[in-house]
């Protein structure tokens, strides 16, 4: 009887369980479920704590709503796009890896816009920044998985670069640069980010 009630309480505790944002299962501590909360809590209706009380023959199983400290509220919750909600428009760059890593898959690809909820312009800017971050080597753990035992034919030279606009294989060398007044300039950065906030006096140079 006691074991059956215990099993039933465990089953109800599983039923009422809410998975954390990382998708990991919350640890079970005997009969009472105390979910381990990290600093990032998802805005859900509230995680219940299952409390069991035994008074003689009757067992009461209660789901108490835990008092969770609210997740940091965005400064502009009225906006639809997450970047506008947090007032980060025109403020991020390819170096802000903590921001960019929230919109990429584990193999480095972008998440679809219908899932992340970004507006089209910001989605494009994030895509550009993620591409520049990958080429700069700032996301070393988000490489695509190669099949086992894959040996590359030619080892590619590891060249340090940053603010690369074009993909490495698509660019041709500039053999004839031209005279100073009509010089063929080399592209640096991306014009989509030209409205970014500049805290210094110097303007943003896109053509070197």
């Amino acid at each position: 009887m006691a074991t059956r009630s215990m099993l039933r309480s465990v089953w109800t505790s599983f039923a009422g369980l809410k998975l954390g944002p990382t998708g990991t299962n919350v640890k079970l501590q005997q009969r009472i479920n105390t979910p381990q909360l990290s600093a990032l809590t998802i805005q859900s209706r509230g995680i219940r704590q299952v409390v069991e009380k035994q008074e003689g023959k009757t067992t009461t199983v209660k789901g108490q709503i835990l008092d969770i400290p609210a997740a940091p509220q965005p400064p502009n919750p009225a906006a639809k796009c997450p970047i506008y909600k947090w007032n980060l428009q025109n403020k991020y760059n390819y170096t802000d890896v903590l921001l960019l890593s929230q919109f990429i898959r584990s193999d480095g690809g972008m998440l679809p816009r219908r899932i992340t909820g970004l507006c089209p312009e910001e989605h494009r800017k994030i895509v550009i920044c993620v591409q520049m971050a990958h080429r700069a080597g700032l996301l070393p753990d988000h490489k695509p998985k190669l099949p086992e035992g894959h040996v590359s034919k030619k080892p590619k030279p590891q060249l340090n670069r940053y603010l690369t606009r074009w993909s490495i294989d698509s660019v041709k060398p500039i053999y004839k640069t031209g005279l100073k007044w009509c010089k063929k300039r080399m592209a640096v950065g991306h014009p989509a980010l030209k409205n970014n906030v500049r805290y210094g006096v110097k303007p943003l140079y896109l053509k070197h």
Partner: protein
């Protein structure tokens, strides 16, 4: 300083100092401008083109140099041997394969930024380029000042601590039925 004796002040003004620049993850063009300014002596108020007031500059870690944009593929170094059909054009990436320590890239950058006169060769003799951290002991003993790096090196995602990653707020919540993150 005004508290120096006359001989000490004279020595401090006219002595030739040795500068150190770390070129790790830095663009070679910005490194070269800093080098050329100090090799000519233009950072001194007593500068005159004829007075040979340039200083020594030591550049280290040149094998970790970083070009901005697609310059590794686009930048072309041209030269002519003087013989017909001797026009050679090499991209920076091909130059990397030929010289993975990037000594020629930094040397050509500084050479192009110095004034085009006969002093240029002596100024290039005062420039010392090393591919990595190791310096000969006599040069290390001469160094007086290290210059700040022109470019701030961005941090990789693996260099952030877990606390810093957790402290950054999540901007969006994924729908519950979406997996494959």
């Amino acid at each position: 300083m005004s508290s120096f004796s006359r001989s000490a002040q004279q020595w401090a003004t006219f002595a030739r100092s040795w500068f150190l620049i770390d070129a790790k993850m830095q663009p070679p063009g910005k490194i070269a401008t800093m080098c050329s300014v100090r090799l000519q002596g233009k950072h001194k108020p007593i500068y005159h083109a004829l007075s040979d007031c340039g200083d020594h500059v030591v550049v280290i870690n040149t094998k970790h140099i970083a070009f901005s944009g697609n310059k590794w593929e686009q930048k072309v170094y041209s030269s002519h041997t003087g013989y017909p059909g001797g026009f050679k054009q090499v991209t920076a990436a091909q130059l990397h394969l030929k010289d993975p320590k990037h000594l020629t890239i930094v040397k050509l950058a500084v050479y192009g930024m110095l004034p085009k006169n006969l002093h240029r060769r002596t100024m290039m003799q005062r420039l010392h380029i090393f591919p990595d951290d190791e310096l000969p002991d006599d040069i290390r003993a001469n160094l007086t000042e290290e210059l700040p790096q022109p470019r701030e090196i961005p941090r990789k995602l693996s260099e952030y601590t877990q606390e810093e990653i957790d402290a950054f707020p999540r901007l969006w919540t994924p729908p519950e039925d979406y997996k494959m993150k």
